[in-house]
Amino acid sequence: MQKKSLKYVIIGDGHAGNSAAETLRKGSPGSDIVIISTKPTHYFDHSLLATFLLDKKDITSLYVYPYTWYKDNNIRLRLNQTVTKVIPDKHELILSHNERVYYDRLLIASGAKPKLPESLSRYKSLLTVFTDAVDAMKLREKLGTFRHVTMVGGDCIGLHLAGAMLKLGKSVTFVLNEYNFWPLEFDETVKDKLIGCLKKKHIEVIADDMTTEIVKDGTRLNVLTKNGKIVKTDLAFLTSGMVPNIDFLDGSGIDVQTGILVDEYMHTSAQDIWAAGECATVYYPELKDYRQTTGEVNAKMLGNISAKNMLDEKRAVSLAEPGKITIEGEDFITYGWKGFSIDI
């Protein structure tokens, strides 16, 4: 328990950020706790995004906590506000509206963003993303305008979305590349099993191939693959996994590789700054190596551990039990994801 009342700032309103905020509040009842998030929506449950497409529920149905939870816990929530710079020497953040925010201790839990393969970067405007509550809201508004969707790449979010699309009577094509299906432990056996399961669901699977080009064709799109296939579709979803969302750290001096490098106590290379969740690349003593973490289970755990360390309780990380998703009765091992399935 800390004696001095500090100001804790958390960048990110996801699983890691909220888990940390809860722990900090319990451990330091008198401190200032601020969550800053670029997203306009509240902390939501990712596993509900696809089912949200199927009903008419309000967006608040996705939220994990009602806003009164933050009020009751005296946690200041700053939504729709973007951190553009971190200045560790001054213990300061700069927001996009030029406000400078002071912190005593900072947790970066800015999560991940959809991975856009370099080869497809010029087709960004033709790709649809489906990673947060706003994406779900926008997609629900135009459900009546399309019949066929294509998943560009393979990831669990795409699987989940495909499940919703099937329920809505849309036809679905996956264009899988030969190397991965984020974030499954992926090898030839898993791949064959996965393809089999998808086909049982009447999903077209183009395997061992990759999308190389997307071309507008009137109101529709043509998705072209390396092996010369052309998929005529209405919407092309970017489902190639996620990468850490850490662009705002450029010039901060904080060490990053794929994500923000943190030690087993979730501390970054900068004083009084910790990182947790999908933005962090964590050193695991069991592995004697760093690992990029993904998924809700890991994020919550790491957010909690970070907060304990921010409260000066020395807590080291340990590997979480792998998660699993199930398709057509078959289990697939994931790193930290749960609640996602094509069988929604």
């Binding site: 929506t41 967006i59 933050y70 009020k71 700053r78 729709n80 509206h97 030029n98 706003v134 809201m137």
Partner: protein, 618 residues
């Protein structure tokens, strides 16, 4: 509009940010697309300089008579001031702010540069109360002060304003474009009102419209709307409705009632009455005189009244005090005048830009001697029109001063109203002498109704002496007991006649028969009471209200009947003493529960509703 019966919007800035101009355009547009509106702006007392300025408006599908304490949408043109407004924002309210301001701390430093004292260096702010105080950008940016359920939308107001008009002052127009896009307000109506307002004096209308479009397009392209509020066009016929404030309604009534002379001295909040009449009265054969002070103003009006011309002056508390001597003079000389007092916070110069209902004692009792006068207090903008016109009729018919008691809230509150045309008989009510009367003209003839036939200057054989002295039937100054007694009785008899013939019964609203709680209200507070009573009635509560417009003379029989129906009676008003409750106590043997505020702002319906609920639980 979705979800709520009405929405309240505030545009908050510093003086010079033109937030009131933006509010004016917004409320006009909402009215044009079918909404009932009510607005009331707050601004600093100083004419120029720094200070918080807030355009405050409420819009809904149903008629509303009062403001809400709570705000649903807060637009910030100046975060430091808007932060103070957050305490009024609903838990799920919306904030629109400039998300690309110049460096906030730097702006504070700019203000600092004007200071010569070296201790004033560094980011901070200087106030007379607290001196130099260090301040951080976190303290001056509204973004960090919202509650967790509120919606924050950022628009680069400064940048877009610079881009389109090459100056930052068009941020108020950019933000109107953003408001239109966010809340689905039809764009064309907005632009029409914008150009109509600016067209007369601003040659660069195109660039201003471009500023509006930039704000609109930015929101459409960049902002994800999550709040539930919108103002889609309503399919209702608003033909015949006019958007006006209480001052304009008073001025319009004066014109329509045949006022031919207005004399006044400028004073907040009544000045606009004179401004409107300056422009309009000459077109109707009248004249406006800006006098050297309020004493002169009522002197002019008294002279016109003596000459048989309908005349009016309008003022506020301090000016009304100066006019007091003439009230007595008008009573004694039986000269018709209409005096409008738009009350503001007092005493003395008091609070020039804040509302209050604290001139009632002065209106009822001001002056020496026994000075009967009629006092009316309209409760809405529409009634400002009706009862100013009625005041001319009553003043002329009963040859006495009629005081129209409004307040700053009514004066400046804009609403869309449908005015009923005045009946012709109201346009001339002089009791002129008959041929028989002219055989031996008695200016102060004793009559059953107390009203003596009045000759007008120039009328053959209608000569009269006019002074402030007591008089006999000929009008000759006298000092005897008999004359003073019968003349005093005659002057008070006119009040009784007016009561019997021209004072309508007070309006009862709400549950009929016995009720647990009755609310008696007067002046602008009656709107808040009506809205509150309407709300609690929907919850099945046993409540009724009585709305009094004519404050003197009182319809005692009807009021007593209402009191007999009520287990308890509440009298809310905007003064410390409970002046109206005291006035009622003189007339009725009844305990009145009081709800008094000197809050510098109108009482809101939710405040009254809370008080009603509290009393019902007791």
């Amino acid at each position: 509009m979705t979800y709520k019966r009405s929405l309240t919007i505030e545009i908050c800035g510093s003086s010079g940010d033109r937030s009131l101009a933006a509010g004016e355009i917004l409320i006009k547009t909402l009215s044009d697309i079918g909404y009932h509106v009510i607005s009331f702006d707050a601004y600093p007392a100083e004419i120029r300089g720094f200070g918080k300025t807030v355009a405050h408006m409420r819009a809904g599908r149903e008629i509303m008579l009062s403001l809400s304490s709570k705000v649903d949408i807060l637009v910030s043109l100046n975060d430091r001031y808007a932060i103070e407004q957050l305490k009024n924002l609903n838990d799920e309210g919306v904030v629109i702010f400039d998300n690309r301001q110049r460096d906030i701390t730097y702006e504070v430093l700019q203000q600092d540069e004007g200071q010569t004292d070296k201790h004033h260096l560094g980011p901070g702010v200087y106030t007379e109360e607290e001196g130099w105080k260090e301040i951080t950008s976190e303290q001056v940016s509204i973004a960090g002060h919202l509650g967790p359920g509120m919606y924050l939308y950022g628009v680069p107001l400064y940048q877009l304003s610079q881009k389109t008009t090459n100056e930052s002052r068009s941020r108020n127009i950019v933000v109107l474009g953003s408001v239109a896009a966010l809340f689905n307000i039809p764009k064309n109506e907005f632009i029409g009102n914008l150009t109509a307002k600016l067209g007369k004096k601003d040659k660069s209308v195109d660039s201003v419209v471009a500023a509006f479009e930039e704000g609109y397009n930015y929101v459409r392209e960049n902002v994800v709307k999550l709040d539930p509020y919108s103002f889609e066009r309503l399919s209702v016929d608003r033909k015949g409705y006019k958007l006006m404030d209480g001052n304009k309604a008073v001025a319009q009534a004066a014109i329509d009632a045949g006022c031919k002379l207005y004399a006044g001295y400028p004073i907040t909040p009544a000045t606009k009455i004179m401004e409107v009449l300056f422009a309009e009265l000459p077109k109707h054969g009248g004249a406006v005189v800006q006098t050297e002070d309020e004493i002169s103003a009522i002197g002019h009006v008294t002279g016109a009244g003596f000459a048989g011309v309908r005349a009016m002056t309008a003022t506020s508390g301090p000016g009304f005090c100066l006019m007091t001597e003439f009230i007595g003079y008008n009573v004694m000389s039986e000269t018709p005048v209409v005096i409008v007092d738009s009350q503001r916070g007092g005493p003395a110069t008091g609070l020039p830009t804040k509302t209050e209902q604290s001139d009632l004692n002065h209106a009822l009792f001001g002056g020496n001697g026994d000075t009967p006068r009629i006092v009316v207090a309209p409760t809405s903008v529409k009634e400002c029109y009706q009862w100013t016109a009625e005041a001319f009729y009553l003043a002329e018919k009963y040859q006495m001063p009629v005081i129209v008691l409004i307040d700053l809230f009514l004066s400046l509150s804009v609403r869309n109203v449908q005015l009923d045309p005045l009946p012709d008989y109201k346009k001339g009510s002089n009791k002129l002498p008959s041929q028989e009367d002219m055989k031996l003209y008695l200016r102060q003839k004793i009559t059953d109704d107390g009203v003596s036939p009045r000759s007008l200057p120039g009328q053959e054989n209608g000569y009269q002496v006019v002074s402030g002295l007591e008089q006999n039937e000929y009008g000759t100054p006298v000092y005897d007991e008999y004359s003073h007694t019968v003349m005093t009785q005659k002057r008070f008899r006119k009040i009784k006649t007016a009561l019997d013939h021209d004072v309508p019964s007070p309006e009862r609203i709400g549950q009929k028969g016995r009720v647990k709680l009755g609310v008696i209200s007067w002046g602008s507070t009656a709107g808040a009471v009506a809205d509150a009573v309407d709300s609690v009635l929907k919850e099945g509560k046993s409540v009724a209200m009585l709305k009094l417009i004519v404050i003197n003379p009182l319809k005692e029989k009807e009021i007593q009947a209402f009191l007999d129906d009520c287990e308890k009676v509440l009298v809310p008003e905007l003064n410390y003493q409970g002046q109206f409750a005291n006035w009622l106590s003189i007339h009725f043997q009844q305990k009145f529960l009081r709800f008094n505020k000197v809050a510098t702002r109108p009482i809101t319906h939710d405040e009254i509703e809370a008080e009603i609920n509290r009393l019902l639980k007791e």
